[in-house]
């Protein structure tokens, strides 16, 4: 098999099969004797109070936002790192390094901003 993506597809397939098999197996061979206590949602737990849909803290949202920005930064830095490591680079490696540092420095300004605004604290 030459295409490496095939392995990924196989993993996916196995990942889907593994949980399906035991569930199907137990559904086939398990004895069924239902009674009201067994059927309750939390057979040996505490009944929930109120709605299960609770309002999240806004902090989660801000964290996700900051994460998204730096996630995109990583996406850019990945090919940059490959270029830096290239056998016969089109540009001087020092230049490539400087370009990457500028890229990161600009984003550090954003990080400092979030830090000084106190958004990185869970309070």
């Amino acid at each position: 098999m030459q295409n490496p993506w095939v392995y990924l597809g196989l993993f996916l397939l196995v990942g889907i099969i593994i949980p399906i098999v035991p569930i199907a197996f137990s559904a086939l061979i398990a004895p069924r004797k239902p009674n009201p206590i067994k059927q309750s949602t939390y057979e040996c737990g505490i009944e929930t109070v109120g709605e299960s849909w609770v309002q999240f803290k806004a902090q989660y949202y801000v964290f996700a936002l900051v994460f998204l920005i730096f996630d995109v930064e990583t996406v850019f830095l990945f090919p940059w790192a490959l270029a830096l490591n290239a056998q016969n680079p089109a540009v001087l490696p020092a230049f490539i390094a400087i370009e990457g540092v500028i890229f990161i420095l600009i984003l550090v300004a954003g990080l400092v901003y979030t830090w000084r605004k106190g958004l990185l604290e869970w309070a």
């Binding site: 540009v91 300004a109 901003y113 605004k117």
Partner: protein
Amino acid sequence: MTITDFSVILPVTLLTAWASILLLAELFLPRAQRPFLALLAALGLALTLGISLAQSAQEFAPGFGGMVVRDGFSNFLNVLFLLTGLFGVALSYRYNQRAQIERGEYYPLLLFSVAGMMLMGQAADLIVVFLALELLSFPLYILSAFAYPRPQSEEAGLKYFLLGAFASGFVVYGIALTFGASGSTDLARIVASVAAGSANLPLLTAGAGLLLVGFGFKVAAVPFHMWTPDVYQGAPTSVTAFMAAGAKTAGFAALLRVFGAAFPALAADLSPLMAILAAVTMLFGNLIAVAQTDMKRMLAYSSIAQAGYLLMAFAPFEIEAARTMAVAGALFYLLAYTLASFGSWGVVIALEKDLDRHLSIGDFAGLARRSPWLAAAMTVFMLSLTGLPPTLGLVGKIYLFRAVIEGGMVWLAVIGALTSVVSAFYYLRIVVNMFMREGEPAVEREWWLEFAIGAAAVVTVVVSLWPFPLFEWAEWAVMKLF
């Protein structure tokens, strides 16, 4: 990488760096020092303006392998955008204090937006066009929603963001199709591939159409204008002033650059479309503006109508001789529009004492007695927007109309002239209110604001008396474009 590369993007780089430093400075400055931020922002803009002016004598130079260029066109626009930024700061300074929206992010975002506009003027590659579009729009979305917790401002920001993001989608799709049709995003290479006959013309036309839709949103041309009145009304007035002038000019910069430089081969297909777009925009904007009583909404519809006049510049693209004059006329008119628009929004700011109440046209009654200079300046701006002497607006309209007539589209010039007459009704109504009606308007006296209004009015009148050097500059600016 050469020195030329850096010198081409020096103004943009300086402004971006300044904005970043301003952003950091705000974080470490004590609260009492906040007013200095406005001064620092103005200083950065002035410095960049100085560099741009110093570079204006230099020759055409491409940078970064043709990603950006420096030519007369970009120089003219850089100066215009930096003036827009300076006006924006002058109008914002006291207004933001009054409206209690003097927050540290304001000026860095404003500078980022100006940097995006300048990059737009210099872009010679569709990828840079897109990045510049986003860089200039994104701060504007935030600034529109800046006056938290006023729900109107938040609504304005959200509407602008949603429709702006939608328009950006059109631009990206247009770029993708253009790339598919010609194999390049570089404007010069697109032209070359069309000339060599290797481009897929139907696909290129589709791409150009999608780009037109996207930029149409930005310049608020009918039928892509829906967001304009709500956003202009809801956003803080200082932001509206900046947006009305800056975003529109940047949108036209992109249109002029992309459609002027890259798609002349499509002129036969596009120019009737552009002419219809211009006619519809002029008719719709002016007719709806007549019915407005709210000052901010009226100026919003007026800015839609002005986009129609500017769109006229794209109509005569089939005729070689008329094309240069049309683009030069558009640049000239953009300058006239910027001054008049900023001036009139400045007067609105001066009269907006109670920020929660909308300023109506009736609130201008008696302004001539209360504050004669302000009334005189407002009269100048209204005359300029109508296109009456002695103002730059008249000169700009003459240039545009002449280009359209030379391009063989007399009907469009007739529509332009007729709608100008319609526009006189609502512009001059304000003048009548100021001079003929009795009233006690509350006027804020702010030095920076008055200085900006006064400067805009004086330039509008004085330059119109001898406009030829300015027009020569505009003509020189477009020389290298084709």
